[in-house]
């Protein structure tokens, strides 16, 4: 089946409410492709969501059982579902503000509990639904509706955060590489224990327009410049690495940090 057919089969509605060029469409498509490639159906999975644009993905559109909780609370609800019925394949889809700010404590404790759920954090670097406020992953100096002079707070590196508290399956994939994103999603869906994936996603409307990148394509080009594969990261001169980052699957903090230049 092609993506349009998978959407007809697995989504409650064909036309979403996401803004034109939103990376969440890419995540939806890649997720559908991954589930289909694994020979499974959408309703083989159970979803929990918090609040924000990201929560609308599974709550509004995925034809499956889903529990749309309050802001930041999708992970404890997922843990409750999974603990109560281990047969359920429980997935949490949330955003950066949802999972790493208001739900940040739940995230790190879920790593510690190692409950076998998969958490997809769609990181668009901003609070999209509420009007473009600064979030826990907003890059330094970025303009948002609450940092009109530029963000002065250091953003979280979500993969480092999860690995740093003992995570054994953390991954990062940008929407700029959808085929790799599909593969990453498949690995996250079938792995054991607690899985975390940061999906680096573009928000042209709220983030892009404030930060000189209102076209989705130019935001994807920026992603390609910033996020390097393991191999490219290894072969990039440490002195020229700058504020670039790395994507892929990681199972320990040391390996991840070795790919990045040492912080001063």
């Amino acid at each position: 089946m092609n993506i349009q057919e998978l959407r007809k089969l697995s989504l409650r509605e064909q036309r979403t409410t996401f803004c034109p060029g939103c990376g969440f469409e890419t995540f939806i498509n890649c997720f559908l492709r991954a589930v289909d490639d694994l020979g499974r159906r959408m309703d083989d999975y159970t979803f929990t969501e918090g609040i924000g644009c990201s929560a609308w993905i599974s709550n509004n559109y995925f034809k499956a059982d889903n529990f749309h909780t309050a802001h930041g609370r999708a992970i404890p609800a997922a843990i409750g579902l999974k603990a109560a019925n281990p047969q359920l394949d429980v997935i949490t889809i949330g955003g950066d503000g949802d999972l790493a700010s208001i739900g940040g404590n739940h995230l790190i404790h879920a790593v510690r509990k190692n409950t076998p759920i998969a958490v997809f954090c769609l990181n668009n670097f901003i609070y999209g639904m509420t009007g473009g406020q600064v979030g826990p992953t907003t890059p330094l100096e970025s303009i948002t509706s609450t940092t009109v002079g530029g963000n002065t707070e250091k953003p979280f590196d979500l993969v480092k955060l999860v690995l740093g508290v003992g995570g054994e399956h953390a991954s990062r994939y940008p929407t700029a590489y959808p085929h790799l994103l599909v593969k990453g999603i498949k690995r996250a869906l079938v792995a054991d224990g607690f899985r975390f994936m940061e999906v680096v996603s573009q928000c042209p409307r709220q983030y892009g327009t404030r930060n000189q990148a209102s076209a989705a394509a130019s935001m994807l080009a920026q992603q390609k410049a910033v996020y390097l594969s393991r191999e490219k990261a290894r072969n990039t001169d440490r002195g020229e690495f700058g504020d670039r980052s790395v994507f892929g699957d990681f199972d320990n903090l040391k390996e991840y940090l070795d790919l990045l230049p040492t912080e001063e």
Partner: protein, 471 residues
């Protein structure tokens, strides 16, 4: 070979990602402007397409690349339509054997909560340490291990309440136990339980506040919060026993009411009742209610007769959409329609209030001819009962009303008492909270006897008021 690519212009959002991301520039803009105000995209170079799939992975569903033969896809969709729930009709009243050997036990209030929860069929507990509720957490940890249930010590009370809500959707009876500061943290989740009609039980072992207050000392300072603490403030069922026997019996009742009405039920206790050890009679047979599930029925209200809707569990194949946002009977969100919002809020109140007659459960003493009625709740009721009896011996026409079910408040019953009663007296382990509820209901003199000092109220103090009018 030209690829079969088409664009559904109704689904195209005009993001231009197909133009920009295709490595072979297969797509181009046409000169025609569509209804949405942007230039329509067209497949200009189908021969160049390598079917790499990038375009469809970026697209909002408008691009169709190499579709299946139409009949084949129609078959797949038809099979999808025919899929039905795999769940079986279930739920209702049943009698189960007691886990404990029938007989008399000597146990503390917190222990009674643990044993009664298990008797009621509870299979899931999540909680966080807090005084004076810790023995419930510890007891559930031990007893869940022995009975095969699930126990989680959560990272905080917020997580605790969301874990039990998740477990409830998985089909288990679930509860948590906490005290003042933790109960405040749970209000957000409880509001979700109200809105998404999720059965669960919360035991609030009240302690003296505000804030950290006196953690080990009893109080009844969350009497209003239990009913009105959450945003939205729809009708809640709140129980407050006065003895360990009642703690045992009413914990079972709390689970039964939660399952019957698909609502959070708050069982109030306090720092005194939690550690008070008394005789408890346990019978061999327990009457329990399991939430009703009828395959294919809508999972949410409003129902036309305010009855409680069918509750599937996740995994039944119903594809449940449970949300705290305003929703229709299928769970689909409806966040701007005023009629849907209003009907849902009225329904959430009505589904409980239309049964308020059967939710009246009061202990009454000497109310036939009482001129003064003491209205007391939970632990204070013990002191009040002694004081009322002693005052009677002294010839005072006093009586006692002790609602075991605090909310819905027994308004009708208290109004009936106004035939003889000209003064209501409300002693409370607080600065006076329920006195306002009583005042709302009766056009009589209502006197507050507040004692927010973290101590149980000395029965002699109540007697002194009844005899001498001094507090």
């Amino acid at each position: 070979m030209p690829r079969r690519i088409s664009i559904n212009h109704d689904l195209c959002r005009g993001c231009n990602l197909c133009l920009e991301m295709c490595p072979k520039q297969v797509f181009q803009e046409s000169s025609e402007i569509g209804a949405a105000g942007f230039r329509l995209k067209q497949v200009a170079l189908p021969d160049e397409c390598t079917a790499c799939g990038l375009c469809e992975l970026y697209c909002a569903g408008a691009i169709s690349l190499e579709p299946l033969p139409p009949e084949e896809f129609a078959d797949i969709m038809a099979q999808e339509e025919r899929r039905t729930s795999t769940g079986q009709r279930r739920g209702g009243w049943k009698e189960v054997d007691s886990l404990l050997e029938p007989g008399r036990y000597f146990m503390a209030g917190n222990e009674a909560v643990v044993e009664a929860a298990l008797a009621a069929g509870c299979e899931f507990f999540a909680g966080y340490p807090i005084t004076p509720a810790n023995e419930i957490l510890e007891g559930m940890s031990r007893r869940m291990g022995e009975t095969g249930g699930r126990f989680i010590q959560a990272e905080d009370e917020i997580a605790s309440v969301y874990m039990i809500l998740g477990a409830s959707w998985a089909g288990l009876k679930a509860f948590t136990a906490t005290s003042g500061p933790g109960f405040a943290l749970m209000q957000e989740g409880l509001s979700l339980a109200d809105m998404a009609e999720i059965p669960c039980v919360i035991v609030n072992v009240q302690r003296a506040g505000p804030s950290t207050g006196q953690a080990t000392r009893p109080a009844a300072m969350d009497m209003r919060e239990a009913r009105y603490g959450s945003h939205g403030g729809v009708q809640r069922i709140v129980l407050y026993p006065d003895s360990v026997q009642e703690v045992f019996d009413m914990t079972i009742e709390a689970f039964n009411l939660a399952e019957r009405f698909r609502t959070p039920v708050i069982l109030l206790s306090d720092g005194y009742l939690s550690h008070l050890a008394e005789k408890v009679a346990v019978s061999g047979c327990v009457k329990v209610f399991d939430r009703i599930y009828v395959p294919g029925r809508p999972a949410f209200g409003p129902t036309s007769d305010s009855s409680v809707p069918s509750m599937p569990r996740f995994g039944d194949g119903e594809n449940v959409v449970a949300t705290g946002s305003t929703h229709d009977v299928s769970g689909k969100r409806s966040t701007t329609n005023p009629t849907v919002q209003e009907n849902l809020v009225f329904y959430l109140n009505r589904k409980i209030l239309e049964h308020r007659e059967e939710l009246v459960d009061c202990e009454e003493l000497f109310l036939d001819d009482a001129e003064t009625a003491v209205v007391a709740f939970g632990t204070v009721g013990r002191s009040a009962k002694w004081a009322v009896k002693e005052a009677r011996k002294l010839g005072r026409r006093v009586g006692l009303l002790r609602p075991r079910i605090v909310y819905p408040f027994p308004s009708q019953r208290i109004k009936e008492l106004c035939r003889t009663v000209n003064q209501f007296v409300v002693p409370e382990m607080s600065q006076g909270q329920m006195v306002h509820v009583v005042s709302e209901k009766v056009a009589r003199d209502v006197v507050s006897l507040p004692q927010p000092n973290g101590q149980i109220i000395d029965p002699r103090r109540i007697l002194k008021y009844l005899v001498e009018g001094v507090w």
